[in-house]
Symmetry: C2
Subunit: 585 residues, 2 copies
């Protein structure tokens, strides 16, 4: 009973071994992350198209929810840039400019994301995240970072630009209003960016975002920048988020489904990737499905307390871990920092300039444009680079959700195409060894006229069966010297019933031509299917070997005894001595 | 120049080596198939919902077109049952009961099929057919055979039943009219079926369809069965098919696209499957894309001479080959038989009873219900049986085209799912060998505490990278005795950039834990990617081996020298002597 409870509530498990040392570490980490969350949360709320205070609401209840149900001890949950963008992309087209409806839809979306993540976790659907490949994610994140960066242009320039997911629309709108650009605002934002970049380079221990927020707010307060037309955050309601039941219509829920699905998966993907890194570094294991449950509870709980969708963020988790977080208690301490801020410090936010928040966003997302991955793929895998580029371009041109969907679909089609057109090889024996390798790669490998050794590098199934049949049928069976074909089956990881049919056909062709067929290196699951299909029986167990070399030796021995038996000697190509066939079955 | 012409026109190539012997064989085969085509063509036209004479039109020009451009020397082109059904399924819903519009749509469809097949052939899209797996095709054919069989029920019962692709609708309509059933018609049809089945069992040399047609037509003529209410073919226009340009609207073309695509692929699939069998038996090779061109030309030419879509049929090709067809001249001779029939014999068709044509169809398609494949799959591969059953049920319930589409999609999803959840193994050495195998399958395999040997049976790519990482991370790295991990990479047929990232991570984890990582059996294409990704460099070439055994020996040697070097001996598990590491790189 207690074990099951501990299993469901990882925090309980952690608390049973809690020590004063743990508390010291968690306190330090929790305070650091909490302080970092204040400006970041408010800045990310701007990306989501919400009032800044909602970034703080999203930094409170979800942290507590995750602390109780989550299994990562270092993960820092809260608002993150990409999810904020996805929220805006889903909600903005439906809100029709009504700020109250916008907020209501965002809260509904949070509840949906929570329910979806919880359901996926309980149904063990965490594996779905595996279908987001690295190049697709990288192309998507890079494009999203650009969209986010440009979405803040209006705050940096102090002009009114309608929200858009398309960079060219934003730039065009900005260009049309170039004479309205507010110079003091631009200067403030640019100085903010410069300070952030300098602090980032100088020392990672300094919470840059907090520094520029304090400096920027102080400057406006001192010099009355708001009278000069600098846009400020203004009146912020004090106090903790209220309990609200998201009011929704089924039509809204249906329209939000694609967005909720995307956020659930992308948010989970970001979270699990960073959580796994720190789990490994700290020597504990992580269950993807339990993580989904943890994030699902965090979002569901948050939805009832004015939170927009959250997940585990990359940069704050790194800070949390570096600052020594040992258990989920660190997250609770961060939440307490936010709660105290909401209760007592909101009056201080009045003079906070939006341009400074925009500068924080821009510097944060600049690091997400993944040039390094593009360069890496240029060297390593051009096909994957094309996939990254496709996702990048599709995200910028077709739209946020459409872009990632296009990337996923194309990457799956590419997988099928590749497995349908597998690599094949005719093999020879490497000199002074019993190893057989592709003749094209190892031109000095030794071939023989009487035994042909072939290999196909793929699971053998309906879509590539014809390649396999062609591999055998392209062998010149009318060649008088040829007595046997050995197929190296070790790279054949799986066979289906179509493949079993093909092997029956290949055996028939070989027999018609008086050629012996040997299979080497059959693996368990493949052997099972071929055995049930009668292929093993038809072939005879004496034609199965673990190793290619043993099969070649057996083929030679059979052919020699055959030749000596009926007197028609044809041992033309026995240029080298072979050891006797090893016992193998 | 001549070579290129020969390449484009296979018939020319065949004629340059033509002999009197060839002509004798081709004449016999061509006559046999031509005689067989007369009743079959008329019967299949009924399946397509067309007047019987259109079956003969479809047996003329397409045969000539294929004879000139096709590469199979035995393939007998003409109307076939499944394609006829697909024609009815596409055209009937659009014709709105207007017989002239029905014929016009069928001719338009023929032209579209021809253009599609020609285009696919020229663009080398023949590989697309590989995505129709055996179980899907089998399930589809079985269901289609049932639909075809039941579609003839109205002719067998002599009642008027509206065309439907749903068996339950046909049965319901028949049940509602049970008192209208025309007994003489039923008896005629049943006797036809019995004769056909008996002749089929007795001797394959007798053209059963022709026999029942002659007997049935004679009986009606003698006894005046048409006055007794037996439905007959009636007045048939004599003469060769006219040249007509299919008149079409773009709206019709758009509506026919799904049908044209399905017919192009299914027709090609049936044709190439049987053509390949006889190409192999007769020792020549076949190019799938050229076959598409041949069928495409056959259909395009046919479309202008009142032909509905045709393809190479299974049973007539078998007869053609058995009767000795040596070249495409056999097809030309069959066409001549049909031409003579159209010119001189059409008056004989007047008394031909529809019930006899229905009996021919029913016996022909009964053999297409693939019980054997279902039994085979029950033994061999339950997953494929499920796929066959799904396609079968979907074809009967969702519709003809929808059924095959559902089968293809589910089979592709299954492929992705399987490659995303690969088989993995921890391996040991088989006694008295250098072969390493799965411990679960070979419990007597020898393991060692200092070297762990693992394997993953799949191409390593984004969707299964997490399985691969888990495989390594589940190894207890804190085990003091463990010094090295050997990964058998020979079954890893391909890696992508996500996999390269994963290997970097795995190397890092191993190094953190003071464990040596060895890769054995890297194949060329995999080595290339890992080399460009820097994995090979990071690992060091001394950690790469062709064979698992060599890697294990190297690991042991390194560990031994390490132990003797720093004095902390820990050679706990050297229970057996190993030969010195073989030279390999």
């Amino acid at each position: 009973m207690l074990a099951r409870l501990r299993d469901a509530l990882p925090l309980l498990d952690q608390l049973t071994q809690y020590s004063a040392d743990h508390l010291k570490s968690d306190l330090s980490a929790g305070l650091t992350v909490g302080v970092m969350l204040i400006p970041q949360g408010m800045a990310y709320a701007l990306i989501a198209g919400l009032p800044p205070i909602y970034g703080l609401y999203a930094s409170l209840i979800p942290l507590l929810g995750y602390a109780i149900f989550g299994t990562s001890r270092q993960l820092a949950v809260g608002p993150v840039a990409i999810v904020s963008l996805l929220v805006a992309a889903s909600v903005a087209p439906m809100a029709e400019g009504d700020p109250n409806r916008y907020i209501m839809l965002a809260l509904t979306l949070t509840l949906m994301v929570g329910v979806l993540q919880l359901a996926m976790g309980l149904l063990r659907f965490g594996f779905l995240v595996n279908f987001l490949s690295h190049p697709v994610l990288s192309g998507f994140t890079s494009a999203a970072a650009l969209v986010i960066g440009f979405s803040q242009l209006k705050h940096l320039l102090g002009v009114d630009i309608e929200r858009s997911n398309y960079i060219h629309e934003i730039l065009w709108a900005a260009a049309q209003q170039w004479e309205a650009i507010h110079l003091p605002t631009v200067m403030l934002g640019v100085v903010g960016i410069i300070i952030l970049l300098m602090l980032k380079r100088w020392s990672k221990a300094i919470p840059g975002a907090l520094v520029v927020v304090v400096l920027g707010t102080g400057a406006i307060w001192l010099f009355g920048g708001n009278q000069a037309g600098v846009s400020i955050v203004g009146e912020v309601p004090g106090g903790l988020p209220r309990f609200v039941i998201p009011a929704f219509s089924w039509a809204d829920v249906q329209a939000l489904i694609p967005g909720a699905l995307t956020i659930s998966l992308i948010g989970f993907m970001e979270s699990i990737a960073v959580a796994k890194v720190y789990a490994r570094r700290n020597g504990y294991s992580l269950d993807a499905n339990k993580e989904l449950v943890g994030l699902g509870v965090a979002n569901m709980a948050g939805a009832f307390f004015q939170s927009y969708p959250t997940t585990g963020g990359f940069s704050r988790t790194a800070v949390n871990a570096d600052a020594g977080a040992k258990t989920n208690v660190a997250g609770i301490i961060s939440a307490v920092v936010i709660a105290l801020t909401l209760l007592f410090l909101t009056p201080l936010f009045y003079y906070m300039p939006n341009a400074i928040l925009a500068s924080i966003v821009m510097v944060a997302v600049a690091g997400l444009v993944d040039w390094e991955e593009a360069m890496y793929l240029w060297r390593v895998d051009r096909r994957d680079l094309a996939l990254m580029a496709l996702t990048f371009v599709a995200t910028l041109t077709l739209g946020i959700e459409e872009g990632i969907l296009a990337g996923v679909i194309v990457s799956l089609v590419a997988i099928i195409y590749q497995s349908a057109t597998p690599h094949t090889a005719i093999m020879g024996r490497l000199p002074d060894s019993t190893t057989y390798r592709n003749l094209k790669r190892s031109p000095n490998a030794i071939t023989r006229a009487d035994v042909m050794i072939v290999r196909m590098d793929a699971a053998l199934y309906f879509a590539n069966v014809s390649t396999f049949k062609d591999l055998v049928s392209e062998i010149d069976m009318n060649n008088d010297a040829l007595r046997a074909i050995v197929i190296d089956m070790y790279p054949v990881n799986r066979v289906d019933s179509t493949a079993a049919h093909a092997l029956h056909e290949i055996i028939a062709v070989c027999h018609e031509n008086g050629i012996d067929l040997y299979l080497a290196g059959l693996k368990g699951p493949v052997h099972d299917v071929l055995s049930r299909a009668g292929v093993i029986h038809e072939l005879g167990p004496q034609h199965l070997f673990h190793e290619v070399h043993a099969a070649v030796q057996a083929a030679e021995a059979a052919h020699r005894s055959d030749a000596s038996g009926n007197g028609t000697a044809s041992d033309t190509e026995r240029s080298e001595t072979e050891r006797p066939a090893e016992v193998s079955s």
